[in-house]
Symmetry: C2
Subunit: 209 residues, 2 copies
DNA sequence: GTCTATACAGTGATAGAC
DNA sequence: GTCTATCACTGTATAGAC
């Protein structure tokens, strides 16, 4: 039995009130940002009193940090390029770009990304948390695949790290920024697939052997 | 106090105090965001009373919108690729990428970009205002240059619009997101120039004749 | 238009009963 | 741990004097 319930948020398996509070806070913060959400609203959404919220989290800032850290970890840990065939660069790159776009354009990832950028001034550490959990991890996965493809001779890559950054940048394209700005509210799967195809094709032309 | 009256085409303000208020609001909002800034703080920064602020702007929201709209227009107005030589694609693309990065990584543009993303939920229209003034305008300039280069035979481009998006995406790379997240607080001109060189080189390999 | 002073609502956080 | 009730404070916005 632990004395501080708020340290359990990373275990993920709890079904108690702490989990309800975290879940409610996630919905509120991701929908409206930090400043526009009150602790009253979070307590109401969780179905508990405000004092209960403060029994689990020291302050609004701590609760916000817990939400952002958990959401950052949760969405990116499954991203992988391990099973892609490094000999068929064209097909694998398009699959990888599509997988990347489906992830970073998903509503929850966009919401976390937006909030972390918007509150980067007030919560400098959350930018680093998000970066390590998300972009840095994804880039490492892409880089590992590019190394395998280069070893297999299906791509010619001088600097795999920079190439991985450029692949991610091409895949993001302008659609990522448009989603961050809320200009494309509906996620268009056809447009996403087409964007992935274009990005993979251009990357392939630049790094073909 | 300045005797020269600035004509403000966005808010209709004419006098010196309106300009002081807008300028003070810009400094406050860009430094700390919308929610973390109070009208008291803006009035203090402008050297006027709070009632004077409300004499010129109906609400905090309207003042915020005026600041964002003006800053969005102001920074991107001068961006151009008109004088670049379309026959020397390698040199022109690197110059263009460097010019692009210098602009979008400048502290004020990053601050506006960050705040527009962060408040996209509460102020949906500001995302569109920023997009039209910034990314859409820049993309059009890049696209126009690519068309001239294609006509000159120094590049082979099937779809200039998509190519322009991809050029901007490559130039942004990951450094743009890192700046939005406040991970690279100091603007490193050497790193920026190197990033521009890499982006231009990769784009050139993909679109060389 | 500009100021001082203030109305009024809402905020984060806490005390004490159970 | 959880609740109700309440604190002290700050926020936006406005009234009235000049």
């Amino acid at each position: 039995m632990r004395s501080a319930a708020h340290q359990d948020f990373l275990s993920g398996a709890r079904g108690g009130k702490a989990e309800s509070i975290l879940s409610a806070a996630k919905r509120c913060f991701l929908a409206a940002g930090f400043g526009a959400v009150s602790m009253d609203a979070i307590a109401r959404e969780a179905g508990v009193s405000k004092a209960t919220v403060y029994a689990h989290f020291i302050s609004k800032e701590e609760l916000f940090g817990a939400v952002v850290a958990r959401e950052s970890e949760r969405h990116f840990f499954a991203f992988s390029a391990l099973e892609l065939d490094p000999r068929d660069a064209a097909a694998s790159l398009e699959t990888l770009a599509g997988r990347f776009l489906d992830l970073v354009l998903s509503p929850e990832v966009i919401a976390v990304n937006r909030i972390v950028i918007g509150e980067a001034t007030r919560f400098p550490v959350l930018g680093e948390v998000f970066w390590q959990a998300g972009p840095a991890r994804v880039r490492a996965q892409i880089e590992a695949f590019l190394r395998r493809a280069a070893a297999a001779g299906s791509l010619r890559i001088a600097d795999p790290r920079i190439a991985a950054e450029q692949f991610a940048a091409l895949a993001r394209g302008e659609i990522h920024l448009r989603h961050l700005l809320r200009l494309d509210p509906a996620l268009d799967t056809a447009a996403t697939a087409e964007a992935a195809r274009c990005a993979a094709a251009t990357f392939l032309r630049a790094f073909a052997p």
